[in-house]
């Protein structure tokens, strides 16, 4: 079946799933109770009349079904509404997106760039000291809580050694820029969060590459390739890695799905103004328009990423048919 037909069929599946998500999110919200009540609970000066007016303004006094449909329509027209506290949701997100993307892409690229060679090496030299070290450190790495890693790095490299700033996207005053250069300042601030984030991603990917490679190297066609006199490099990379990368593609695909989810934990620790950090803040405030918008956006991205991954999968593995 052609790629187009496959994509269309999967897109059709997307629709009910998407509706399911929106329904779920909407329901969760409404379960929380009256948003106005929650939001203004701490302020004793707001009268009930004002609350009512607010409710009316936000359309909260209309029947639930109508509110849901209204929201859906807004979604489809890309009207993400107004945050309770920060203005247009869409501009809020737009502001934060870049910081998140920066961190995410750097994390992805660096972790893959390190994990793939390390995983391959570990697989090739199975049972050696290298392999044992890599495997065990990675196992430990998957167990370390990311937030602790971040805090530890800030403490050591930020507070005690003063090598890097302890957070934020850039320095508040131009006079603080290293060598007076803005770009350098941005990079300087990027080092710690990017390192921590990359380290967090590294461990599971190394294990994945290693186990995939081990599985592949056990196969008969690797033995046959060697027996044909092909060079070791050809055997390992052309035949071995090419097959071993297939599950990595799935991983990368999933990664892109969650791209905007950002890393709420890492961003919060480093005061990194990205979507993840924003989500944490908005959730604390129960600022529903923002919450909704981000969740729906991310879900959409995940769905699309899954689709793209499936298609790519079929492309790189001839055994898979797009049935």
């Amino acid at each position: 079946m052609s790629v187009l037909k496959y994509v269309l069929r999967r897109a059709l599946y997307l629709v009910p799933v998407f509706f399911g998500i929106t329904l779920l999110v909407f329901t969760i919200e409404r379960l929380a109770g009256d948003p106005v009540q929650l939001y203004t609970a701490l302020n004793p000066h707001i009268t009930e009349a004002q609350r009512q007016a607010l409710r009316h303004y936000l359309g909260l006094d209309r029947p639930v079904l109508e509110q849901y449909l209204q929201w859906l329509i807004e979604l489809f027209t890309l009207n993400l509404g107004y945050s309770y506290s920060s203005g247009l949701v869409s501009s809020l997100i737009a502001q934060k997106v870049w910081a998140t993307l920066e961190l995410q892409l750097i994390g992805l690229v660096f972790s893959l760039a390190i994990a793939i060679p390390v995983g391959v090496l570990s697989a090739r030299k199975r049972y050696s000291i290298i392999d044992v070290t890599v495997t065990n450190s990675s196992l430990i790495g998957t167990s370390i809580p990311v937030f602790f890693l971040g805090v530890a790095f800030i403490l050591v490299f930020g507070y005690h050694l003063h090598w890097f700033p302890s957070g934020g996207l850039q320095s508040t005053l131009p006079s603080q820029y290293p060598y007076g250069n803005l770009v350098l300042d941005l990079l300087w601030h990027l080092v710690l969060p990017a390192t921590v984030y990359t380290l967090a991603l590294l461990a599971p990917v190394v294990l994945l590459v290693r186990s995939s490679m081990l599985e592949v190297l056990r196969q008969d066609y690797i033995l046959a390739a060697r027996a044909s006199g092909l060079s070791e490099r050809t055997v390992i990379y052309k035949h071995g890695l090419r097959n071993a990368l297939i599950p990595i593609v799935t991983y990368v695909g999933l990664y892109f799905g969650g791209l905007l989810a950002g890393a709420p934990v890492t961003e919060t620790i480093f005061n990194w103004p990205g979507v993840g950090a924003q989500f944490v803040v908005s959730t604390t405030q129960l600022d529903f328009p923002v919450i909704q918008a981000i969740v729906v956006l991310i879900t959409l991205m995940t769905l699309i990423a899954n689709l793209v991954t499936d298609v790519t999968y079929a492309y790189i593995d001839p055994r898979i048919r797009l049935e």
Binding site: L24, G33, L139, S143, P145, F147, F148, T283, V295, I298
Partner: protein, 322 residues
């Protein structure tokens, strides 16, 4: 050629029947890393059983067995709030790991946190696996529209950004119910309610694989009822994957709860390591030990389960049957 009459004492080893669980246990024993994991888990289990249990649910009740100085027992004795006990370095003796900002002995806190970790791990994973196994078995065995519906449902849950919705849920629940003493159970419940989809899909995959075994078809032909087939034949064969998923799930749910608590979304009165680290993070410059030691123990705890889970996966893998 008639059968053997050998002169030698080295008899032909015909092998005696060994159950597959015994075989798996033998394989597991050979895996030193996995045994290490088992030892770690055992260590923490003992720790929790003997010191932790009654003191998990509220942070004010410390009981009589802790190692902190008597003036801090009741809570807010001024001596505990000022520089003295709060900023203790780590001498041996009274406070091997120092004290935290509220004057609690960090070592005792870690012990209490162990029990909480087990509650989170076992509770959330137990709940999630119960759902996952039910759905996985049903979808895999019955197929057809049941499978379709269940898998769509699973997909919806898989696509949702689990961590984000977890935060939202927790915030709502906590806001609704600020003084809930059952806070930790709520966290457990919510984590469990969101972590079943991955496991469900894997269980279903195993069921599909096992279903094709000929003896299942044979049982069906003899006329065995569905429930009999499910319980006697299918379930034992997917049990191995359930065990692995559960072990790894415990590690994952404890980490998740820690992250969530650290960000401030956990149950405020529960005394998990994540909560301890949350409180300690504000005082990190003065008392780095209050966050570091719980973190180390958390890492070791999670690592124990991860190592054990990986070892179990290798030991129980049906493809490696000798």
């Amino acid at each position: 050629m008639p059968a053997t009459i050998t002169v030698s004492e080295q008899r032909v080893d015909r092998g005696h029947g060994v159950s597959q669980w015994a075989l798996a246990w033998r394989r597991l024993k050979k895996n030193k890393v996995a045994i290490g994991g088992l030892a770690i888990v055992g260590f923490f289990a003992v720790l929790a059983a003997f010191d932790g249990w009654p003191f998990v649910l509220t942070s004010n009740d410390r009981g009589l067995f802790a190692l902190y100085p008597p003036q801090c027992v009741a809570g807010f004795s001024p001596a505990c709030l000022t520089s003295g006990p709060t900023i203790n370095a780590t001498p041996s003796g009274a406070h091997p790991f120092g004290t935290d900002a509220l004057g609690h002995d960090v070592y005792s806190e870690i012990v209490y946190g162990t029990a909480a970790a087990f509650i989170v791990g076992l509770g959330a994973t137990g709940f999630a696996m119960a759902i996952a196994v039910t759905i996985g078995l049903a979808a895999g065995y019955f197929g057809g529209w049941i499978d379709n519906v269940l898998m769509r449902l699973t997909e919806v849950f898989l696509v949702i950004p689990f961590f984000l919705l977890l935060l939202v849920f927790l915030q709502i629940m906590i806001k609704l119910n600020p003084s809930a003493t059952g806070g930790l159970w709520l966290v457990v419940f919510i984590i469990g309610a969101f972590s079943w989809p991955g496991a469900a899909r894997i269980v279903r995959g195993e069921v599909l694989r096992v279903r094709e075994f000929e003896y299942i078809a044979a049982s069906r032909q003899i006329g065995a009822s569905s429930s009999r087939i499910l319980s006697r034949h299918l379930f034992p064969n997917v049990l191995h994957i359930i065990i692995v998923l559960a072990t790894l799930g415990i590690a994952a749910s404890v980490l998740t709860e820690a992250a969530v608590s650290f960000l401030g979304f956990g149950a405020p009165n529960s005394n998990t390591w994540g909560q301890q680290m949350n409180i300690a993070s504000s005082y990190i410059n003065q008392a780095w030990w209050a966050i570091t030691f719980p973190a180390i123990f958390l890492t070791i705890f999670v690592m124990g389960f991860n190592l054990l889970g990986n070892g179990l996966r290798d030991a129980l893998d049906p493809r490696l049957r000798e």
